[in-house]
Symmetry: C2
DNA sequence: TCGATATAGTTGACATTGTCTACCTCTGTG
DNA sequence: CACAGAGGTAGACAATGTCAACTATATCGA
């Protein structure tokens, strides 16, 4: 039950997840193997398979939790009634998350995912994060007041998301190291992106 | 000579590369193994290692060629003396490439790369592609004429690149399948991004 | 209370992969 | 003609995902 529902067993499941995440932090996604998880936990190489049918299943579980954490992180921003300021705050949280949890961010957005259809929980959590962004843009009335464009907010959300994701993705990609940009320049690039985003988000004719 | 200049040997190197790419197209990056390459070519499992010291080396070679092809693709756009139109054309080429060669695009920008320092040719080719974009923005005079901001174009290039890369990356990521967007909506999203980008790229105060 | 059953774990096995080392087999050149 | 070296072959090794069989243990129904 709630207090101690098979304390030992289900602990292994949790332990596997956090240990797997730790391995990914240590050695990258390609360093993750269920055997390594088992080895670190001091159990047999097959024990994790009692809790996860395959390697993809543990990855999907990790991803589901990442999306969840990510969405909560986006929500923890200074409250504002001005939708523009609110969106800006969310954008800053977005970038902050990518900088604070680069491995998890890459895992969510820059790594081939397990088949979403096979892991609906992961899928739902991912959708929820996107909905947050789209709903902020719905509040912003980027179309003349009279018109009704239900999908317009989604399109603008795609635009904002693209820029945020692209920036975050580039900032932590190896590609940047090759462009020899300094940290200061990267900071400036981020500010510039926010400035340009603000310019772009005016009501369309 | 030309007809049969060690027809077997040096051909094998090329054959490995194109076969490897084919494998990636068929089975994804995780389906690529040098043994599979050898198997498909009907040679021993060690033959490819005579031409590539390790799996990363063949990947780096493939990536170098992809970046090269990508840069050339960007350059093959309708010529225009108006820098705004020219940039727009390049953006459209960018998205077209991502759509025409999704596997290669993902390989370049959405997949962990071999260590750039260990593969300088790959790195140089990557830099060249970014320089193309930055130079277009240099032409655009996004700052008041009198001012001199050498790095300003780079910052704006980062912004444009972020949006393009983010959009391309999202468009082909699994994430989108979970958001249940139709093809028409995706097309609209692309148009919207270009429209917003145009709005954003006005001279800064 | 006792036995059935499900759960969680162990051990052993198999195919696949990257990579190492040793061997063969041409081919051109002194 | 010998021979050196490039290109290709063959065998071995450790690591991985996954399958199957076995064991211990705890829970539940009779």
């Amino acid at each position: 039950m709630a207090a101690k529902p098979k304390a030992g067993p289900s602990n292994l499941r949790e332990a596997c997840i956090s240990e797997a995440l730790q391995i990914i932090e240590d050695a990258g996604i390609e360093g993750l193997s269920l055997r390594e998880v088992a080895r670190r936990l001091g159990v047999s190489h097959q024990a994790p398979y009692k809790h996860f049918p395959s390697r993809d299943h543990i990855l999907a579980e990790i991803l589901a939790r990442c999306f969840d954490e990510f969405a909560m992180f986006l929500d923890q921003r200074p409250p504002s009634t001005d939708p523009f300021i609110d969106l800006r705050g969310m954008g800053e949280r977005y970038m902050a998350y990518a900088q604070l949890h680069p491995v998890k961010y890459r895992l969510m957005f820059n790594t081939p995912m397990p088949d979403p259809d096979a892991h609906p929980q992961m899928m739902r959590n991912a959708q929820r994060a996107f909905a947050l962004l789209r709903d902020r843009l719905k509040d912003m009335k980027l179309r003349p007041a009279g018109e009704f464009h239900p999908s317009s907010a989604s399109l603008d959300a795609m635009f904002v998301w693209s820029t945020l994701h692209g920036l975050a993705s580039i900032l932590q990609s190896d590609t940047l190291r090759t462009l020899q940009m300094s940290d200061i320049e990267l900071q400036q690039a981020m500010s510039r992106c926010f400035a340009r985003l603000s310019l772009a988000l005016i009501p369309l004719p």
